[in-house]
Amino acid sequence: MPKLSPKSDQYFFGTWEKQVGEHIQKGEVLFEVESEKVISEVPSEVTGVVAEQRVDEGATVKAGEVVGVVTVQMIERR
């Protein structure tokens, strides 16, 4: 969970925009949170597959907390 608000480290976890097993491109929205009256979309920092959602929608999360896992697919070059 990146720190988005200068005033608060707590976020209301709104919606998962990608579900477990779905492919996600770097920059695509992974989830949405609310803090300090602002709704923010949080994009994926990598291209891969959503492997885990560790928090439920409606939960309170803190900046720095791991909320999910995206598995990066390695392409082997020969």
Partner: protein
């Protein structure tokens, strides 16, 4: 800055307009100044059942809407002005100051000694008259706020007062504060004059103001967003996954009534009625008749009226029970 004049007093249309504008690539910030008919605006992740006296809202024909931005529930009417800034987002970090400072400056230019509070609200004589909220989408920041000028604060208080004995749901709760109308400081000014002077003052805070108009095709695209999202019952009433509520009221001559309800995505999934009232009503049958119905005052009252027709409750009507469910 681009200024787009609007004439609609339907908040769902203006929310759609903001959303559409965020998908365009205008060279600078777009500004809107608008007002609504009597309207309740929920924040995106709020529970209507926890925030709105829906029985009162329906009786008074208040329009219930939901924003895409965060924060608490507000009441707006023709005595209240809304403003919107739609600006390209330069960072994902949250920043209110560039927008609220501009409104603060515009009002100070009008001679009103207003101040910004630590919660990004604006205050006058130490009380809040303006709150604001944001959402970030399509590479833009959509920042909007409200300004109380001559709002009916009595209706506001009743519409936003919910009398839950117990409520359990995952939602953003509103923070209730004492508010003040700006007309207190401008007693001889009418709303139309305030709006004109405010608009002129806000324009003075920008280097340059260019008028913006939309084509009929563009307005049709806005209408499409309005119907698909902001005027859609599903978005307004069915966003909350699960709400469990307990209500209790003593009816003089009727007795004590206690209701325990469960609502999932706007549909009643459990209804339990007990108390010391007098009736031959089959409570289990009553519950069966209500479960599965949309949890809205008109629907519930129609069902209760039919179900209680043969076995009424002494001195407690279907309308009384409906009002208790939604008060």
């Amino acid at each position: 800055m681009l200024y787009l004049p609007t004439t609609s007093n339907d908040a769902t249309k203006l929310f759609a307009l903001e959303y559409w504008l965020a998908q365009q690539d205008y060279p600078s910030t777009v500004f809107l100044l608008w007002s609504t008919r009597p309207t309740i605006m929920l924040g995106k992740y709020q529970d209507a059942l926890a925030e709105v006296n829906l029985a009162f809202a329906e009786r008074q024909k208040l329009q219930v809407t939901r924003r895409y931005s965060g924060g608490g529930t507000i009441y707006t009417d023709p005595g209240c002005f809304q403003y919107s800034f739609i600006a390209p987002a330069t960072t994902a970090k949250i920043d209110f100051t560039q927008f609220s400072a501009r409104i603060c400056q515009a009002l100070q230019q009008m001679g009103l000694p207003v101040q910004q509070s630590s919660r990004n609200d604006l205050t006058f004589q130490g009380r809040k008259f303006s709150g604001n909220a944001q959402y970030h989408r399509f590479g833009h920041v959509i920042h909007h706020g409200s300004l109380l000028f001559d709002t009916d604060v009595k209706t506001m208080a009743t519409a936003l007062h919910v009398d839950n004995l117990k409520l359990r749901s995952k939602h953003i709760a509103s923070v209730h504060q004492r508010v003040i109308n700006l007309k207190t400081g401008l007693p001889t000014m009418m709303a139309a004059e305030f709006r004109a002077r405010l608009l002129a003052s806000i324009k003075q805070t920008a280097d340059e103001v260019t008028p913006l108009t939309l084509t009929p095709t563009q307005w049709r695209a806005v209408d499409g967003i309005q119907q698909a999202i902001f005027a859609n019952d599903k978005f307004i009433y069915q966003s909350t996954p699960l709400t469990e509520i307990t209500k209790k009221r003593y009816f003089p001559g009727g007795g004590l009534v206690k209701l325990s309800l469960t609502v999932k995505h706007g549909v009643l999934t459990a209804f339990r009625l007990n108390g010391d009232f007098f009736s031959d009503v089959d409570v289990a049958r009553l519950s069966q008749g209500l479960v599965g119905q949309r949890f809205r005052p008109a629907t519930v009252q129609a069902q209760l009226t039919a179900l209680l027709a043969a076995t009424p409750i002494v001195n407690i009507s279907a309308a009384d029970l409906t009002a208790l469910c939604f008060s």
